[in-house]
Symmetry: C2
Subunit: 77 residues, 2 copies
DNA sequence: TCTTGACTTGTCAAATATGGCAAGAATGGA
DNA sequence: TCCATTCTTGCCATATTTGACAAGTCAAGA
């Protein structure tokens, strides 16, 4: 893995989430509705846009709602 | 992926990191020495023990130092 | 144009990750 | 046992994520 800026990896992960979410035909509201603990579309949006450096547990909850492995969201290529 | 407690996924990810680090024959000090930006063995230890809910960027830097894909560290099975 | 749904962004408070240091525990070897 | 190395943990200050709400943007249609 080549050197990558923080902003770059956050952007890729955000794109992964957005892509998978759209593939499943879900809106952000649908997504948070499927997440067990409380989470907000605000946060989803910021993560999808790469504006926030999410914790692994938040990404895990998203992966559960999307029904994909956490590692799928964390692919950088 | 079955329901999993936050503490459980943090523990698994920590074990992944520790396992890979040991496979590479690295100490925590070696590891931080390979990481570009500053990071502390304190933090590595806390992550390996599952005591902290690391951000994805921190895990990414660790994956770079370990020379494995980020997704490898994020495997939960 | 107006409306609706979907998303983004600003701000706030609370919680917590991070970096840093120091002290303590654990481990293995001489 | 003593020592050195490695790792863990407590504490602190700072930065940032998170949840929450409100307001703004944007696109598609009627």
């Amino acid at each position: 893995m080549a050197r990558m800026e923080k902003s770059e990896i956050l952007k890729i992960i955000g794109q992964n989430i957005k892509r998978i979410r759209l593939e499943k035909g879900l809106t952000q509201v649908d997504l948070v509705g499927k997440i067990e603990a409380q989470i907000d579309t605000t946060n989803i949006s910021r993560i999808e846009k790469g504006r926030t450096n999410a914790t692994i547990h938040t990404l895990f909850r998203i992966s559960q709602a999307l029904e994909v492995p956490l590692s799928e969201i964390c692919k950088l290529n």
